[in-house]
Symmetry: C2
Subunit: 349 residues, 2 copies
DNA sequence: ATGAAAGCGCTAACAA
DNA sequence: TTGTTAGCGCTTTCAT
């Protein structure tokens, strides 16, 4: 392997062009107009820079300017439709602004989250976006100390602007649709609608559960404790819980509100062991969207969160002056069963 | 909003502790042993640093050491099961090593890819991983000039070590399974197996097409040009092409090899408009895995690529001395229809 | 066992 | 229109 020569610096270009380092710096940057560098000089310098394969050392620039050109985002995990859509949008918007996105996943672990924020601050990111924060107060404290603008996404914090999905409305509408689609509406345990999946201490789930309760209460079918099965996000536990529920009831309940794709994956693990017939008298909804889940052999009502809208709003907030502590809601979309949905990104493979 | 005080530096800590900046630097770092700093001094300094909420300015350190602690990875897109799994693995492995991962998506655009590599070089990343490169030669040229270790993932380059999925074997096995599962095996157009989706100029697709041809040729059913429909990755075009094909044949063909999840999403758009009965005499396979696709009303043979294995190998390669130009293959896994698959990540929501 | 000083590559004030 | 200079915060010789 041939060892390359040292990367060239503005001093090399200065020497080669006969100009001074500061002239080179200006000529290569945006502000050569107000420094009144002769156009000819600029051209020569740029030509030489290109020839030498020069590129700005961003660490040096960042050190000098005390801004890095990096923008950080923390997400719970990469391997998730919703969050990876956020990443895609975030990257596009950051690049539009000439910034370099750094996306890190916290695995929903507060310690890891703090470590990541600390690291991003060390690298002097210009802004920080935190999606699904596990400890918003701690994040705000760290960002305040570093004088860093930040914004919460999907899960709000009180120390910074926040942009969240309208979970209440999304769940309200979904529950209503389930109610409307049900064939039976008695009051036996089997006739009820059950909520399964998620974590009720989690902000988003709490909102959805509240909406679920409200719709059913308004319909004169107040929710009993056993109708809320917040068994986490793991497919496995959802499989176990839905199986246990079916056992208790003697059949599938008349309706199931599944509170995440991963829980739905688990529910499916059980449903697929049932004869298709037994699904006829049940209505299924899932909070979150997956194109394949939309094509199962039974209809599934889904909710699609607007990841792009969330990030767009978050960027708006963080760039806005004054930098207000407002809470912005972004509405999710209801997806009818078997719809072929056209996402901004699903056209790329 | 309360404006925070300036971030503290080693000079602040030096002043507060009565030690010199260089002592502080050493005490805060790893090499205070060989600098024979008194243990007591180290402790005092660390205590004060913690009190002051000190954290290293990585731009300054990076500038001085000429390494940033950042590791870059380029992927085609975030919003994709396979690539986002790679991101997740990459992040974990980078963090194990105390590095900070920066993941950027190229949208499969060579210009964008070059721009990203350029940017990452500007930030002095320590290593660069390029997944699904569109122009490996250009990437290698840039990395050589910057004396930057890099490795190609999923799509090989000749200028650096490469780790790729064994697309030939994955497709070979999948095609054989389709062949074995078929009920008919005549030679009419309808009795053939069709390959749909992907881009035949793309390395991975080319390997898969080659395997597809070979299996069928070996079975005495040489592949005709019209059996290969490499219509890209967009769901839409797959829908159009499968519909056109069914039109031509008067029914679904006896087998379909779908060459990506997005193409499969499109194929599904058409299949769902057909009576379930008409699928009975067809066997469907998809190169790539999705848990929901595994639960459709008809059996789907799938192939699951080992994203984690790819990244693990890539890291091994890039850290190895000597840094050899070898090509490593990682085998994908065949997933039987309706399998409930337990991925390393699917247990998290 | 510790301090002083140079310098990484860049930008911005200030001079000329 | 351009050059000189200081300094961002850190690490690393080289002295002591």
């Amino acid at each position: 392997m041939i060892r390359a020569t040292r990367k060239s610096t503005i001093y090399d270009i200065a020497r080669l062009s006969g100009a001074s380092p500061s002239t080179v710096s200006a000529a290569l940057g945006e502000n050569w107009r107000k420094r009144r560098i002769a156009e000819a000089t600029v051209e020569t310098i740029r030509r030489i820079a290109t020839e030498q394969g020069y590129s700005t050392n961003m660490q040096a620039r960042g050190l000098r300017k005390a801004r890095s050109g990096l923008v950080g985002m923390v997400i719970p995990l990469h391997d998730n439709r919703f969050f990876s859509s956020m990443s895609q949008s975030f990257e596009a918007l950051a690049r539009d602004r000439g910034q370099v996105p750094v996306i890190a996943s916290s695995m929903r672990d507060p310690t890891e989250e703090r470590r990541i924020v600390e690291t991003l601050i060390s690298y002097a990111v210009d802004y920080l976006f935190i999606a699904g924060a596990t400890d918003p107060e701690a994040v705000t404290a760290m960002c305040r100390a570093a004088d860093l603008r930040h914004v919460f996404v999907d899960l709000p914090g009180r120390g910074a602007p926040s942009v969240v999905s309208d979970n209440y409305k999304g769940a309200y509408d979904l529950t209503q649709r389930l109610l409307a689609d049900r064939t039976i509406s008695g009051q036996t345990p089997r006739d009820r609608i059950y909520f399964i999946g998620g974590d009720d201490t989690d902000y988003a789930s709490a909102c959805r559960i509240a909406a679920f309760r409200d719709v059913l209460a308004n319909a004169g079918q107040p929710v009993l404790p056993e109708q809320i099965i917040a068994c986490g996000y793991a497919p496995r536990s959802a499989t176990r819980e839905i199986a246990a529920l079916c056992d208790r009831l003697g059949s599938l309940p008349s309706g199931v509100f599944v509170n995440s794709l991963t829980a739905f994956e688990g529910v499916l693990g059980h449903l697929s062991s049932l004869p298709l017939e037994s699904l006829r008298n049940s209505v299924i909804g899932c909070y979150d969207y997956d194109p394949f889940a939309a094509y199962l052999q039974f209809p599934v009502h889904m909710v699609r969160q607007d990841a792009h809208g969330l990030i767009r709003e978050a960027y708006r907030m963080i760039e806005e002056d004054p930098y207000d502590l407002v809470l912005t809601m972004v509405e999710p979309e209801q997806i009818a069963p078997r719809t072929y949905y056209d996402s901004p990104f699903s056209d790329r493979g």
